[in-house]
Symmetry: C2
Subunit: 218 residues, 2 copies
DNA sequence: GATGTCGTTCTTGTATACAAAAACGTTGAC
DNA sequence: GTCAACGTTTTTGTATACAAGAACGACATC
């Protein structure tokens, strides 16, 4: 029997929350989940703590934990912050990036392009993720990298959703290229602006998507 | 007896780690702390989880938790990120800030100035904190505000240390004024640059301070 | 009939008991 | 004398038992 089952449960629950298994505001029942995972309440509670710190659930003392899906406004805000942070990465990377890393980024973009033409959204998604992760790494700031990864991970399901939009894949690719070009030129401002626009537009697109899905809600 | 003792313990432990009660790399003993806080191991373990997620301790499976003080490099990195995030706040605030809020910020600065002249570092510290918190708020982005508060809180003890440096208080004040002026002008770039320099310099000062304290270490 | 209060039940928070893995020391062989 | 293997001890991870607060409902009172 493996140790640290709480960790596995936390990841599983996180996935379930993010993919919409639990609705917003739903209460996560300790005993129910304990039975479902075939463990005692203890690992479940440990998992809850992690989720609460990630902001996926809210822990109300003596009341329980409730899933807390970000609303449209908060999502926009999160994408705005993501854009800002990636812009910081770009600024730093523009100064420090090596030719080796630049070549690698162009490589990733090329594979991304292939995925677009092949219509393979999953592959596109993976390569797209690689691109951003490389940018974080190339900032040369380990702490910044970790913070970016955290937020990037949190936004994952929403990015995924909006990638289905028509024509967005090709445009997104072009934006990636623009970023790499700016990095190659060592142009901090242009790199920052390019990546900021690239990320922020995702939040806006998502917003539009949401609005179109439930037009008369509230 | 109040509920949620784990939370109180977490905060207490956080304070103890930050003020240097525990050395870097020290192992936090569950049973020992349980005895010390007159509770069982359960709340201690819950507190550990929180600390681990904040990055103050490292949890190694089946080994225990170890305090993880950031080294000079990581500190510089963290201040760099803080600077970047506050710059984002400044950019957003420059567009959205109201005259009402601007007046309030000038007020805070005035009180700060008084504290400098009175040599009251504690008051200075509180007002200084208010200034930054107001900036976060004025970004108009609640998520960004929360993230900034998180990092700001984490850097608290290190800021406090470096505030003792001679002449820094007066200079810091002038920088605050420059930020408010830029905000008043609605000059995004200047506001961002001003606050970035203001924050980043703290990390550097701290670095110098550390270097001067242990000149021949390593 | 509505409302407030009391009691039951359910759920969370904490303590304790148990299991398993890792650290440590001891002992034995080379 | 050194090194390795085994057993003991300590410590973490999990389960279960217990305590206390909150939700819910019934009953009484106005």
């Amino acid at each position: 029997m493996e140790p640290r089952r709480a960790e596995i449960i936390a990841d599983t629950l996180e996935g379930m929350i993010l993919d919409g298994t639990f609705a917003d505001g739903a209460r996560l029942d300790e005993v129910q989940l304990a039975a479902r995972f075939k463990v005692s309440r203890t690992p479940i509670r440990e998992a809850f703590q992690r989720l609460a710190l990630s902001g996926l659930v809210e822990q109300i003392p003596r009341r329980g934990v409730f899933v807390r899906q970000p609303g449209p406004v908060e999502l926009i805000e999160m994408f705005e912050v993501m854009a800002g942070m990636e812009a910081i990465c770009a600024r730093l990377a523009a100064r420090r990036i090596s030719d080796r890393a630049l070549a690698e980024m162009r490589n990733v973009n090329a594979r991304c392009q292939q995925a677009v033409q092949a219509g393979d959204t999953d592959l596109y998604y993976r390569e797209n993720e690689s691109f951003h992760h490389m940018l974080y790494r190339q900032s040369g700031n380990g702490f910044l990298e970790q913070e970016c990864l955290r937020l990037h991970r949190r936004l994952k399901p929403f990015r995924r959703l909006q990638l289905r939009l028509r024509g967005r894949l090709g445009q997104s690719m072009a934006e990636h290229e623009a970023v790499v070009d700016a990095l190659a030129d060592g142009d901090e401002a242009r790199a920052a602006e390019a990546i900021h626009a690239h990320v922020a537009v995702q939040g806006e697109k998502f917003h539009h998507l949401m609005a179109s899905l439930k037009p008369a809600a509230e």
